[in-house]
């Protein structure tokens, strides 16, 4: 009788759905799935373009183009992992870059530009964080407000002519500096998130705030840390943006918050946060988006339709990557 309990005995035959479920429930699934989808898409494009897609020029292009969104997506992973949402990162980056460029115009120093941009990025993210933590405003609401306010301020500061930073000076830094800075930040994030208490705590808070509190985790401190990490990333993205374009125009960063969210989710991150969060989702997602854009353009899909394809791909991938609940998903933070 007692043997009935054992899984091997009398176990019903596994259906395909069960097997898929077992695969999907594997702890590494959220990591491996988006990566393998990226590889699949990549291979498809290589076939469709007759190999042209595997060209190194294309690959470096893809990396360069996804760098800014990838940096920000890596950054927001910290925020998302606690179940908070911030879609204002695009505008924060914009304002940071704008002030950085202004600082450059005053001092003509690249170092000052970098320092100012990073500092502003961190300060603005902290401001968002304080509104959430001190006044208990939902992070998504803060972000909606911040998005508009920062956007408007940037627009006033920039004025008619883009704020120029000597693009030749930028070009010097653009190559190696960007790569080194990004890899450094990425590795630090990766380590902090998966190998230190910081990341553990954030995931724990995302999983169950009450439980985290009872386990002696200071929610406010942890979330503040997450915003600092995010701020560094957003500031860095601002620096990359200035270095890439050599100037700051009024529209800088607007709408990028959505791109970042798209990339993060595409990379396998849940907006609920929690146990399955990781930092490289953003990178994978950003690269996937760029691969899609570049690939579709190369095989001759009209530019007006590319967005539609992006939408459908996005829905399919997110759908395949998420657990289908019995009830409908909802979220008080939205």
């Amino acid at each position: 009788m007692s043997q009935k309990n054992e899984l091997t005995h009398d176990a019903p035959k596994l259906t395909l759905v069960d097997r898929i479920d077992i695969i999907k429930n594997h702890r590494l699934f959220p990591v491996i799935f988006p990566l393998s989808m990226l590889v699949v898409i990549f291979l498809i494009f290589i076939v469709l373009t007759g190999g042209r897609f595997a060209d190194t020029r294309v690959l470096t292009g893809v990396f360069n183009q996804s760098l800014i969104v990838a940096t920000m997506a890596t950054a927001v992973a910290f925020i998302y992992s606690t179940g908070n949402i911030d879609i204002s990162v695009g505008n924060v980056m914009g304002l940071a870059a704008c002030l950085g460029a202004l600082a450059y115009q005053v001092t003509q120093s690249m170092t000052v530009m970098i320092v100012v941009t990073m500092a502003v990025g961190i300060v603005l993210m902290m401001f968002n964080c304080v509104l959430g933590l001190v006044f208990n405003v939902k992070s998504a609401m803060v972000a909606i407000v911040a998005m508009s306010v920062y956007g408007a301020i940037t627009s006033v500061l920039v004025g008619a002519e883009p704020i120029g930073v000597d693009f030749k000076a930028c070009k010097v830094l653009e190559g190696n500096f960007r790569y080194i800075a990004f890899v450094l930040y990425f590795v630090v994030c990766l380590l902090a998130f998966s190998r230190t208490a910081i990341g553990r705590k954030l995931r724990f808070i995302g999983g169950n705030e009450n439980c985290a509190e009872q386990t002696g985790i200071n929610r406010k401190k942890a979330i503040a840390t997450s915003y600092i990490f995010a701020g560094i990333g957003v500031g860095l993205a601002g620096v990359f943006q200035v270095l890439r374009t050599g100037n700051v125009a009024q529209t800088i960063g607007s709408g990028m918050g959505m791109d970042v969210m798209l990339a993060t989710v595409l990379g396998g991150m849940s907006i609920f946060g929690g146990a399955k969060s990781n930092t490289f989702a953003g990178f994978v997602g950003a690269v996937t988006v760029t691969v899609l854009n570049t690939g579709l353009l190369m095989i001759g899909v009209p530019s007006t339709l590319i967005q539609g394809f992006r939408g459908v791909f996005f829905l399919i991938l997110v759908f395949l990557n998420s657990e289908r609940q019995k009830t409908l998903p909802s979220r008080q933070q939205f």
Binding site: V145, V149, G255, L305, G308
Partner: protein, 342 residues
């Protein structure tokens, strides 16, 4: 007993109406002193005000439909574009006049909402994420079909009725009444509230949470298309957009929605509250345009007010809490003092 209740209710209604009244007086004062004109100075202002109000009411109601159940539908803006542009053009081609434009747009908008809802209950991914995907898709559809052309309502025969103040008021009242009827008094509304409280329990009790949700999306689509028609009536034409810029409409209408929810809580009628919230925000916009403020400054002002409001709204309980806390500390001290000699 009945008397007390109705007194409470009356007070609630008075409070609900008082908020926009206060805002109006405030704006009037600012405009009179700073710009030398009244906020609503003439019939054109009245019309502008009503037209913007009906758009805001419809859009804010649409957001609240899903948001109250924890679903943020970011694709509402894109649904508005599809509904208005296709519905409008078809109605104009068939020569159906203003009402025809409105009805057809609402039909198509409803269709978009329906599609969105059906996709949602089947995919069951997070509503906000779904909203992103659907926005991309709807914008693309709207843009690619019909050769990137938008809809032009200005100067078209028969659409004047959409600028008629009486008609607009009628639409506003109809929208609020239908929404209130649906969400407050109908079986759908009862089920909706149950689901809002707990999906699982509601579903266990035999309520179909999926069809209810699809209906919410459908209703949202209908409403945004209605908003789109009146927005277009004011701006003359509506051109399709790409790159998720249609999301802006959703964010923009969050303020009246949240404000409306607060105002509505006085009289336990969220839909009526949203209408009042829309009045407040539109008075504010109108006043700022009278003052000739730069658009960026207007933006910063409106959103700062929004922020202040949500800060107040989320923290208002703290005041009561602090009062209760002081009272309790005093009681504790008293008890301690009483114990000491013993």
């Amino acid at each position: 007993m009945g008397n007390v209740l109705s007194k409470d209710r009356l007070l609630g209604i008075v409070k609900t109406v008082a908020v926009p009244a206060v805002v109006w007086i405030l704006m009037e004062l600012i405009c009179r002193t700073q710009a030398g004109t009244s906020v609503v100075a003439n019939s054109a202002d009245v019309r502008t005000f009503f037209r913007n109000m009906v758009s805001t009411v419809a859009f804010a109601l649409a957001i609240s439909t899903n948001l109250n159940c924890g679903r943020m539908d970011l694709s509402l803006g894109a649904q508005m574009y599809v509904g208005t542009i296709f519905g409008g053009n078809i109605a104009l081609a068939l020569n159906l006049g203003g009402v025809g434009v409105l009805v057809l747009a609402m039909l198509i908008g409803g269709l978009c909402g329906l599609i969105c809802g059906i996709v949602f209950v089947n995919l069951r991914i997070l509503p906000m994420v779904l909203g992103l995907g659907m926005t991309l898709l709807f914008e693309c559809i709207c843009f690619s079909i019909n050769n990137q052309q938008g809809v032009i309502l200005y100067g078209k025969p028969g659409v004047e009725i959409l600028s008629n103040s009486t008609f607009i008021i009628f639409v506003v009242i109809a929208l609020v009444a239908v929404a209130a009827l649906l969400f407050k008094y109908s079986r759908f509304g009862y089920r909706y509230r149950a689901i809002q409280g707990s999906q699982k329990l509601a579903s266990d009790a035999g309520i179909n949470i999926f069809s209810n949700c699809v209906f919410c999306y459908l209703f949202g689509g209908i409403l945004v298309a209605c908003a789109g028609v009146f927005t277009t009536m004011y701006s003359g034409s509506l051109a399709p957009v790409l790159g998720m810029s249609s999301n802006g409409y959703v964010f923009r209408n969050m303020f009246p929605m949240v404000l409306g929810a607060w105002i509505g809580s006085f009289s336990h009628n969220a839909q009526f509250g949203v209408a009042m919230g829309a009045i407040c925000v539109n008075l504010l916009t109108l006043a700022m345009s009278k003052l000739g403020l730069p658009l960026n400054v207007q933006n910063v002002l409106v959103y700062s007010l929004f922020l202040l409001f949500i800060i107040y709204n989320t923290n208002k309980r703290k005041f009561a809490y602090n009062r209760a806390k002081r009272a309790r500390i005093a009681l504790a001290k008293q008890t301690k003092a009483a114990r000491q000699p013993a």
